[in-house]
């Protein structure tokens, strides 16, 4: 029997998690919840997902557009083993009471505060701690990207201090309402940014300070990392460590991946659904030790890097697999992530 997963919120993250869940052999989609009709709802129906609405009043809008509604969120929760909340940031917290009423396990996204679940998740860093849990929060795209590399470095060399410049995309590619179109926006102006504390919700022992800006780009944020390691090592040792990790992809300028644009083109050429890049994209030729400190660049696909983490979180919380490394490999194999 496959575990039944409800997806509440069928936007950028929700639709991707739904597809990734469908590709696993130990879980399936019980239904997806959407508030308003859209091309995305129509595609969901084409894929065979049951379409649910937050409350009965929303159903008429869908039916007017010729889209069949299977029921309400309430009904869906009653028929599912776990819900992935992918509603807009800060909206998810409002559903907490409803999920509790149904006694259903729930996973929130990084747009919510740590406190909504009391536990923040990353597949490699703390799968064990998620086993059997009622509530978890998968940290945001940038935080997931940072946790993946800092966890790897900390395990291998110890991280004494990480200083990161997070260069954020201003909008997702499908967002036509957001700026800037020709400026750099310190965001937040007051330093440091929240990304450092957010990393600590998963890796409490890491000493990290982050600053962030918002840019005229939609493709991928880029991180410039400076890390003071606990042990002396060379660039090649860091490359080796990154290569050993399941969701880090090394690329190279020599291989003509010279920007976030080419990194996304690579994902498309790999045949990835929606052109998604689930792994951190790390420039191998940027990895350098200078004045005793490690420097490198990585790009993060903000629309998709948390997707495999959501799948692993489901597996841990429902105890479908007790070993984190095995869950990661299983998720990766189902999605087609190859080293």
């Amino acid at each position: 029997m496959k575990a039944k997963v409800a997806i509440n919120g069928y936007g950028t993250i929700g639709k991707r998690v739904a597809d990734a869940v469908s590709m696993q052999d130990d879980m399936e989609i019980a239904g997806v919840v959407k508030t308003r009709p859209s091309f995305e709802a129509r595609v969901a129906l084409d894929k065979g997902y049951g379409l649910f609405v937050p409350s009965k009043e929303n159903a008429a809008d869908f039916e007017k557009q010729g889209m069949e509604v299977s029921g309400t969120l309430d009904e869906l929760l009653g028929d599912s083993d776990i819900v992935v909340d992918a509603t807009p940031g800060d909206v998810g917290a409002e559903y907490r009471k409803l999920y509790e009423k149904h006694g259903i396990k729930a996973i929130w996204q990084g747009g919510e505060e740590h406190e909504v679940a009391g536990f923040s998740f990353n597949s490699e860093a703390n799968y064990d701690a998620a086993l059997g849990r009622e509530h978890a929060r998968v940290v945001s795209c940038n935080t997931t990207g940072l946790v993946r590399v800092l966890y790897a470095l900390d395990r291998q060399f110890g991280v004494e201090k990480a200083r990161v410049t997070v260069m954020r995309r201003s909008a997702d590619p499908n967002d036509i309402k957001t700026g800037p179109i020709n400026a750099i926006v310190p965001d937040p102006i007051s330093l440091p940014s929240h990304h450092g504390p957010d990393v600590k919700t998963v890796l409490p022992g890491i000493n990290i300070t982050t600053v962030a800006v918002k840019l005229s780009t939609t493709l991928m944020p880029l991180h410039a990392l400076n890390v003071k390691l606990g042990k002396d090592c060379g660039a090649e040792d860091v490359v080796k460590t990154f290569k050993s990790r399941p969701r880090l992809r090394l690329v190279s300028g020599k291989d003509r991946v010279k920007s976030t644009a080419e990194a996304m083109e690579l994902a498309k050429d790999l045949g990835r659904p929606r052109g998604d890049m689930w792994e951190n994209v790390i420039w191998k030729d940027s990895i350098a030790i200078d004045d005793g400190e490690l420097y490198f660049f990585q790009a993060i696909h903000q629309e998709s890097d948390v997707v495999p983490e959501n799948v692993d979180a489901i597996r841990a919380m429902l105890e479908l697999e007790s070993d984190g490394a095995r869950s990661i490999l299983k998720t990766n194999a189902a999605l087609g992530i190859k080293k």
Copy 2:
């Protein structure tokens, strides 16, 4: 008698230096050199600058467009006290022999190597060393912006280590041929970037590592600085130090300067020629001490921040003023830079 200044290369920097020189009471424009006719050449003539060409063959092109040519570069150099070379990067070095033949003092821009002049200049950091010199190079826009703040911090607190992320504009606003339009480009991919070594051509004692990316923006590059200072101090001490410096402008998000776009709008509202912002724009509310280290954001107007430095370099090399601080104040007053 005013000192006679030749401008070789009348593009982004050359035209601005010409105007800034014209605004001083101790120097004047002997002529400007342009290779091809353009609206900029026409405006130069309207301003009363003598228009010169690299060689006689270029003159016909101008005359065909109805623009009067006053002579050749050779003739201009024979009639000037100093030449500011603002030709495209790496082209300036080719003119070195010609300048030497004429025995004329020469100033190059940051697009050339340090070696072209053997001396790299910043008004605040090393005016004294430029007094009477034959050759100098005014460091690039980003390097000038870094030198201004690092010199100030080093004098006041000592700089033990500076780590900087330089977020570069991909093109100037008048450039229609350059990308990217929607991507982040690690540039260079191999770390660290050249900006650190370039800072050391002016401030050899500063321990600095820089990384750089190129962005979809034309307005201003932004620097995220992390500085380990030699003395403990608070954010307010840093604010005080920056306020005491002649070419640092503090802005604030609370005052609705929230991005490089608003910083440039401020320059326009101040009535600056071409909307230029000659000073570093530093976000006062970004200045923070975290984990014992200083963090802040600054934006640099790449088209204009080196302009007052060129004026001071002229004054030092021709010994029109022996005191650097006085030259800076004189230049600032003539341009209208107020604290």
